[in-house]
Every structure is written in structure tokens, then in C-alpha cells.
Symmetry: D2
Subunit: 353 residues, 4 copies
Amino acid sequence: MKMIKVGIIGATGYAGGELVRLLSQHKDAQIVWYGSRSYIDQKYSSVYGNMFQIVDDKCMDDNMEQLADLVDVIFTATPQGLCASLVNDTILSKVKIVDLSADFRIKDVSVYEKWYGIEHKSPQYIEEAVYGLCEINREDVKKARLVANPGCYTTCSILTAYPLVKEGLIDVHTLIVDAKSGTSGAGRGAKVNNLFCEVNENIKAYGVATHRHTPEIEEQLGYAAGEPIFINFTPHLVPMNRGILATEYAMLKKKADGSLPTYEEIKAVYDKYYANEKFVRVLEKGVYPETKWVEGSNYVDINFKIDERTGRIIMMGAIDNLVKGAAGQAVQNMNLLFDLPEDEGLDLVPMFP
Amino acid sequence: MKMIKVGIIGATGYAGGELVRLLSQHKDAQIVWYGSRSYIDQKYSSVYGNMFQIVDDKCMDDNMEQLADLVDVIFTATPQGLCASLVNDTILSKVKIVDLSADFRIKDVSVYEKWYGIEHKSPQYIEEAVYGLCEINREDVKKARLVANPGCYTTCSILTAYPLVKEGLIDVHTLIVDAKSGTSGAGRGAKVNNLFCEVNENIKAYGVATHRHTPEIEEQLGYAAGEPIFINFTPHLVPMNRGILATEYAMLKKKADGSLPTYEEIKAVYDKYYANEKFVRVLEKGVYPETKWVEGSNYVDINFKIDERTGRIIMMGAIDNLVKGAAGQAVQNMNLLFDLPEDEGLDLVPMFP
Amino acid sequence: MKMIKVGIIGATGYAGGELVRLLSQHKDAQIVWYGSRSYIDQKYSSVYGNMFQIVDDKCMDDNMEQLADLVDVIFTATPQGLCASLVNDTILSKVKIVDLSADFRIKDVSVYEKWYGIEHKSPQYIEEAVYGLCEINREDVKKARLVANPGCYTTCSILTAYPLVKEGLIDVHTLIVDAKSGTSGAGRGAKVNNLFCEVNENIKAYGVATHRHTPEIEEQLGYAAGEPIFINFTPHLVPMNRGILATEYAMLKKKADGSLPTYEEIKAVYDKYYANEKFVRVLEKGVYPETKWVEGSNYVDINFKIDERTGRIIMMGAIDNLVKGAAGQAVQNMNLLFDLPEDEGLDLVPMFP
Amino acid sequence: MKMIKVGIIGATGYAGGELVRLLSQHKDAQIVWYGSRSYIDQKYSSVYGNMFQIVDDKCMDDNMEQLADLVDVIFTATPQGLCASLVNDTILSKVKIVDLSADFRIKDVSVYEKWYGIEHKSPQYIEEAVYGLCEINREDVKKARLVANPGCYTTCSILTAYPLVKEGLIDVHTLIVDAKSGTSGAGRGAKVNNLFCEVNENIKAYGVATHRHTPEIEEQLGYAAGEPIFINFTPHLVPMNRGILATEYAMLKKKADGSLPTYEEIKAVYDKYYANEKFVRVLEKGVYPETKWVEGSNYVDINFKIDERTGRIIMMGAIDNLVKGAAGQAVQNMNLLFDLPEDEGLDLVPMFP
């Protein structure tokens, strides 16, 4: 088939770099534009030495108008606000957009503006944008012009709880998500907080009760629950490069006879949703997700434990934040947009150790 | 004053090694017995190269009878079951014992035997043993013969929530403790799971709903609450050497007028219990504990955040698992037992980075 | 083409695990035997959770006789001595063998027995075995029955200096190799020395002047030099999972006019040998190898710096010890043995970060 | 005795922070000025959370004139050039200065200006400045007004080879220093290169043949050798917070009978210089330095191995770069300047793990 021409805006951030890694191995796609305002005219491989002799191109400016004439799909792996400030009707009529920022993830613009603290520059496209969590919105993505690629924490948090929320097995008002992330999630900006010596041999919570991924999780799980929900979401910074682990707690709803659902009943619900999902692996009983087991791949590993003593279920999910949490899911969305096999270019075997 | 003669059984594990580090700087104590069955007759500094030219002694066998005649206090930093199998009336009449294992932490022997899966060899001493969480049981420790030094996770988990439980500010039945620990907590045993390549670049939960520190937390917080409680406790293994961070969630009880307690009200409760506690630092508003900030020291750093949206409070506590979570607290207990200033030898400034 | 049937003896070590990762993505090869004496009858994916739903097979015993009837090629990723103790004429008549251990790397059996401290059980095959450093012995590998896959340190050390040794540009008697390796090179055995807490936040030299890869480097560079050479080789253990960096020092031979060779002259020599080698990347001037840039790939990154002040050249090379230093090179050898494109299944883009 | 009043310029860099850690435990010194231009008027403990409730002071500007009237000794833990631009006769008449930058380390100003690329602003003080490598220049330090505190790499590199150079046992023209450092050596500046994700799981050489510590090592070892020497010095960045390991290579001079010196002969030379040095530990035969064994302490661990095959000796030394390589040595110099016991406040037991 004809190669899909790809433009990346923000190609030198960590998510952008991962897009380059994945797309350079994708047989139907070709990157023709490596946008990076900070490195214009510099060779891409001078920024990411791993790509030496693999990518020979230079970095370009972030001109979305010009790009729309050159490519079939644009990935924006940029800070919040940039995509919303650039997109317009002309562009959307020419090209598909997969936005890895948060600009089009939240349907209620006031919620976006409150949590992100910036004005939304093109709210008129929020409605049509499709939330690109492929396992849930697959059919809508196929028809979209503008895909809002989900956040890293949100992808992991939502998929881990989704079947139980959707089937009404847990009390959604008791849901707590305690998440742990590798440091690449903080991006490649030169900040003291992200220096090696500040992160190494350290763990901390941050954005406690205020992290921006909270309303995104609430919105999506709210759709599944059929009612608005409010959760506690606490992210933690872990001294590792990649990986997110979400540990989630909720009260199980009791059955009519007053007993808790069994392992087998819960497992059956997970299987109902995920048994045919290539990228979701519900682990065997008693085996809990480890981020290293999904590193470099597009997998989400999930499992759960029922605690009879407290009546709660502990759900755990693990992803590679740069793959399923960013670039991998973006490519999965691209595959859907262009009617390719959903796993094209994503047959990535996790690397261990 | 006269030097306290100290014997350590299990001196070559990580907790034992930390006891040696701390006691070698303690002006009133002198280690005269480095017990380590695995390294008998080998120089202690050949096991821990950091102690070269600081400790010249050789490792000895674990003979508690003989030791009781030689020393004033015995620290047992050994696997569960050993201390209980060795202790007897004669020994207790001659020497103080600070047991760093779990043998005498839990008052209900059936709970101990169920969670630890071993028979308790000297249940007759459980009653008199004092749970050595100094900030809470200070006065009882002073009079004890046998101190049950608390677990690492439990020290952190209990102290983080204690004031709010004690004062009835939270619904204890909603308490969830999501804890993260460095790898030294797993001990120095040669196990594949603890190899560098298995731990590095990885995070996972383990012992989900089954970890042995659960009943210990429940018992102690139950005393504070005045009723039995059951919690969810989930430990995670973090790729770092030292440090425990406990992130704890609970529903705040509403006040008579239906409103939530304020930041100031909660802070006042923490201050009531901890303002005069040298080793407990309640951080400034908006500053959350980081394990690196307590590394090498006996501090517990604590803070909290009220989430008005969900009605929950998120409490966070950080310790160095080998110091306040093991050897530091053991020395603190020794100081109490021998009527020394409680912080003698524990004036340790955290090391950063 | 017909699938190559592969048997792995030692499939659950780190090198074995990497073979499984690489071969599971190789379009012309199929693993039919996952040998692992320690895990017989256990699912392979219960040992390496990353392979869940990718490999469904169970581990088998290490029966080379039986295996020879089932497969086209056997990889032995086992401790020294095992391959030599199993191989025989019958087996070699039926199947190709790529031995990842040191058994057939060294031509002088007395050197092998001295450095490895074991008796060689089948010295009669040493002569015919081909040293599988593909870039140098490509044509011989194609005709071999038994390939001695090079060591990790040796691959990196040899390729980094090879062109200059071969062309006589350096005084080989001044060659010093100071090498640094990630911890996966130490294998998956449960040893205290390789525990996370012993390796993390630490660097040390080991095997100083006695490491077994020394004679292997000397032999191969001796062939290139046309004379026996003796070098200093010092390995160091680095707190990271993967990667070897070799920093090598040698006196440059002066030219007839007494001057040192120029950067361009040295570069031309490297290019003569490596410009057409896909897996060897000679970096741009002033850019020095970093192990992270080759992680997960079969690349060797090389560069050098001439120090006019001392007359020495500093050569640096980086590989992923588990790929080009073990499994990747083994697959490269397999490709040569079966007349496949040499890079089949090895089009691996390095992962960063 | 009267407390020594201390001012620190550059108190919020990593070396400055370590000075604060050490001096806060020093019984005869008191910090009265925490200079940090970047954090003026902010609480010191808001920058370094480890110092919460230990240091209550705020950060001040870097006014050396004013400071000279307030304190007995000024530590400058600042970038190159600052101390030289501030110091003058008036200041030196009032106060002792220990400069942790390179400004006064190198006697030949043209060498300084060439390697550092900046003009020296007060070359008139270079002559009187004493190079504060205490083990070698102890007596001169005691009489100094201005101490040039040695670099981290240089301290380790020099002390490791010093006895053999001084006694003429090695051919100094063959000396090669291959050094490895933790990341705190790179400082606390917000640079992409020092981000966690760039350093973690990576090792690289940098400043190859151009690192600024080269001429400092050459000058000091040149004094010991009695002739100018030129060496190769290659630093490497290691994914750990603290620690420097120097691996050094040189040809041993043969004895009159053509044989190499024995282990015992070399050991005797090391003992001659270091047996009475508290902070230098020459390890037992066959035990090689590990950076973790000196972490947090002022020790230098040293050992060596003679390679009969090549005629070379491999010398290895390890320090904590922030202690013996910076703040610890600075305090040691202060102790000498004020006639205190040299180890006052430096009785630091290394922390493991």
C-alpha cells in the first residue's frame, strides 16, 4: 500500500522520540517532518544518538499549515495549548491529527480550563474530537479527523478499572488510584526536580489531589459508570525511566445474597472485555503486573485481588508510559484512522531485563 | 557513664549492619558481640567493607545464653521465629532484649501464627513484651525487659495516621495504606527476585492483601481507634536502596455542621502529638515527604492534603526503613531502656543527594 | 522459506531470555525447545513475565542428543563446560551449534584450562570451531558446524581496536582496555554480590588482571597484529541493567616524519573496515559512545580521540551486552549459517530513554 | 573553645549542601551565612528538605566583603572564576578562605586560563594559595590564608598513585587514569544532560583528553615525580549519586635484577605514606575499592594489583566525591587552619547499603 506520510510536531521530547522509534519500524508509515522548534536545522540524530544512521533528517519548525499540505497525519507531541492554538478548518480538511497533548481530551471546556489553567483556543473542535483510547472507542476513532490521544496515567488507570465500572461491580465513589510513574513522564525539560540526583534513590507523591489527569479519568470512567464520579488520584515519581503502575482500590458491591463476587466472576468480566484485546493481558491468578514486563511494548498488564477482610478489590495495571501511554497508542490510533491492522508496527516484545 | 555492652544476633543482615553503623557512633554503647551464623570467624569488615578499620572484630555464633552473661542488651536482627525460640526466663533476668523480628509484636498469638505461618515458641512472653514504637509507648518501653521493635512499613504507616485515628477524625474503616519501599527491606538473602536486574527499572506490588505487616498496623491503630479495624495495605518494591513512603487514604469525618475539618484543624492535631517529637517532622503546607530527605536519619516526615472533592484526606509519611524502620528505632528503644537521652547517637543528618 | 527450527539450552538465563526475545520476532526462525534444567515443566512465561501470551511453551530438560533430531540449530547459553561436555560427532552431523559459552573460543586448550580452571571435555572440536565475530570471520562462519559466539566484553573490546591493530597504527604492547558493564552480564544466578542493594549506587573493578575475557581479546587481536600480545583488561560493574562501554588506550605509532596520524587518517582506517558494516556505527567527530544509544539493538558504537599531548589514542566502544554481546550476535551467526540476510530479525532500533 | 563562624558562598549547590550537612554536625563550627544568589530570602530548608528543622536560616546574597567582617572562614562552593573575582587584600586580612573552585589550584596561570577558558581575575594570590590536599600539604595548610580545595577527580587520582610516584616505582610517562564518577559531580544546574532519564541506565566518557582536572593531577604528581608529567585522564559519568572510582595504570620500573617489585614491596610503600593517615584506607590484599564503601564518609579506599604478564600495576582508589572530593576535605582544611584535630566533625561512618 501507499506509505502514510507522517509529520511530528514536538519530535524531540521523549514522547516524540518514541514516536520516531516506533514509526521507523512501521512498514506503512514514513516520517517526513521532524518538528522541533528548539533544534531547527540540527540533525535529529544529534539530539537522539540512538537514531544515528537510522534517521538522517534535520529538525524543522512547527508549521502546521505547511505540514498539512505535505503529510497524511500530524502527531502533536507538544505542551498543552499548542495544538489547540494551531488547528483550524483548513488543516482538518486536509490531514488527520493525533494530538498527544490534553487539548481535546476533556469535553467540558471549563473543566479543562480550570485544571490546566489556560484558555482553550479552539473549543469548537472539542465536540468532534474522539478520545483515542482504542480498546474502548475503536469504532469512533476510525471515523475521526481529530484524535485526542489519552494521557499516560489515564490510559493505565482507566483500562485497569473499566470492566468493573462498566458492569457495575464496584462502588465507583470509593475508587482510589495510587499511581507510580517512571521519570520520562515528566518530559525532557531541563528542570532541577528531574535531575538524576534529585530523582535517584527517592520516591515522592506529587500533584496530590490536583493532578491534571484526574478529571480525564473521572470523565471516561463516568461514561462507563453512567454517572459523574470523583476519585482520588495520586501520582508518584519513581526512580526509573519508563513505566506506570496503577494500584486501584474500590469497594466491591455485594451480590443479592450478601456475598462478594468470586475471583472467577471478576475474572470473567475482565475476560469479557479483554480476552480478544491483543494489547491487554489479564495475568494469571496471583501474578501481579510489573512495569518491567511491558517495557518497550504496547501492552497493558492487569490483574486484581479480592480482599474478603475489607470487601475491597485491589486492581493493578502496568504500561510503558511512552508506548501505550503515549506514542504506541498514538500509532494504534493512526492504524485505526488509516484502516490498517490495529497492531501494525506495534508487535513489540517487551525487553527484560 | 559506664558503656552499655551490646550483643547483636544477626549482625550481617542489612538491619544488623545498620545497627553496627549507628552503635559505632554511639558514645555510651559498645558492641562486644557480632553474631552471624553465616560468617562465623570471618572479620566483620570482610562482609561489610565500609566498616574496614572501624570494626576489627570477627563474627560469632548466635548463642543467646552465653551472650546474656556478657552484655547488657541483645538486639536480635534475625528472621521470624528465632528470638522466640531462644529467649527464656534466665536470659530475660540477665539482659534486655530488643527484638527486631516480628515475634513479639502481635498480642494475639493466633493472629501471629496465621499470618506468619509458624508456631510461636514462647507465647508466654508476648504479654509482657512492649511494642517499641517510642513516640507512642515511650513510658512502657522504659520499664520493659523485652521490646518488640516495630516493622518498617508499620512504623511509617502507623505514625502517619496515628493522630487522626486517635482523635477520631477519620473513618478508620475506610483507611487504605499504599506503601512503597526500597529494596533493603527485602533483606540480604540471595534471591533471584532481589537481583539488581530484576528490581532496577521496575516497580510492582507484592503481598497484596496478604502482607504480614497488615495485622500489626491494624492492632496498633485499633488501640488508637478503640475498636478493631481492618485495612488494606499494599506494599510495592521500588528500585532504590532505602526508604519507605506510605500514602494513606481515609474519609474524613464531617463536623457537626456537615463541613470537613480544615487544614488548620488537622494540622493542630498533628502538632498536638508531634510538635515535641524530635524525630517526627510535620512538613510545611504543600510540601510532601520524599524518602531522600530522611535517608540515613531517624526522622519520620509527615504531611497531608485534604481533598474537598471526595471528602478524603491523603496522608503521607516517609522514613528510612533501616533507621527509623529498624536499627534507629532499636537504638531509640535502647536509649529508653537505659535511661539515656532518647536521641543519643541518633543525631543523624539526612544525606542528600 | 522453510522455518529454521531452533533449540535453546539455557533459555532462562539473561542471554537465553534475550535469544527468546529476538527469535520471537525473527520471521524465519521458530523456537521449538526452551531448555532450562531449573524450570523443567514450568511455563516459560512464568519465569519471564514479559513473554506472557507471546510464548506459551514449557521449559524442557537439556538433552542435546534428543534436541539434535528435532532442530536445525542449537544455541547453548549455559555455563562454561556444559557445551563441551555434551557435543559429539553425531550431534555435529545433524545440527548446527552456536555456543554462547567460552568452550570453543580459545584455540589453545591449555590457555582455556588455565584461565577457566576446568578441564576441556572435547578439545577435538576446538580446531574446527569458528570464532563467531561476524564482522571479522563472516566467511568462515558461513561454512561452520560449530560457532563459538564471542564474549560480551571481548566483542566490544576487539571491534573497538581492531582496525588500528590490523593496520599497525598503534603499539599493541601499550594497549589497555578499561571496560564497564551493566549487571545483566553477571547472569541470573542468585548471588549476594548481584543483589540490587549491593550493586546500586556503587561501582567497582573486579577480576583485576585475571578476568577470563583477557586471553580471548589477546588471541583475536593477536591474529590482527600478527604477533602474540598481552594487554591489561579491567572490567567494572556499573549499576545499570544493560550495556558495555570499553575505553581503550594505546600509543599511536608515529609516522615516518615523526608526527602522529591525524584524525582524518585514523577515521579513514575505521571507515575502511566499518563503513559497510551495518551494525558498526563510527560516530561523528567529537561524539562519544553512550551505552544507552545502543540499548536493545545489535549496534556497536565506536569513536576515538587523539591526545597530542601524550601521543596516545583513546578508543571507545559501546554495545548492549545481551544483544551484540550475546544473543544478537548469536542470531547474526545463525543468519550466516543458514544463508539468510545477516541482519534478518536484527533490525532493532535502540530504545531511549 | 570559641565557635568558628562560617560563611558559605554557594550553599545550595551539591558541594555547598554537603558542607552544610557536615558543619551542622561539627562541634566547633557554626554556619552564620548561607549564601545562594539563586535563593535569596528563601529558607534554606525549602531548597534542601533534608535540613528541615535542622537549619532554620534563610539564604543570603554572595557578598564576600560583608561576610569577611562576620565570619572566621569563608567557603566558596561556586563556579570557576567567582572566588578569584571577589577576593582581595582586605578580605584576606580578615578571614580565611577555602575555595572549592579551581581558581587557585594551578600555579601556572596560563595553564589555568587555557584549560578553563577564562581570564584569572586575581593571579597575585595564586602563589600564596596552598593546595589543600591535606595528606600531602598538611603543614602548609596550617599556615595558609587561602586554601585551594582540590577537585574531586584529582583528590582521588592523586592519592591513589602518589606514594608510587613519589618513590619512583612507576614510569610516570605511562600513567593513565580512567575515572568514573557519580552524577552529583556535575552539579545541580538544570541541564538536559543531567536529567534522570539521560543518565540512568547509561554510561559514557566525556571531556576525553580535555577535562580540566587533567593539569591539576599533572601538576601535583609532577611535584612528586620531580619532573613535569603528562597523563591521560578520562572521566566517565555513572548512574549513581555519589562516588568516584579511579582506575590507574602504569608500567612498574624493574628492579636492578630485572624483576618487578613484589606485592609486599609495593604495599610497604603505600603503608609508609598512609599507615598513619586516618582517612586513607589501603585495603587488604585482593580486596578492591568500591565507592559504596566510602559513601557519606571522608575516606579514600585504595588498593592495587601487579600484573606480571604486562609489567603494569593497576591502582584503584575510591572516594565520596562530595565528601573527600569536596566538602569533607574542605572541613579537614578548616580544621587544620584553626588548629583543631584534623578529623573533627569528620568521624563519618560510611553508609551501606
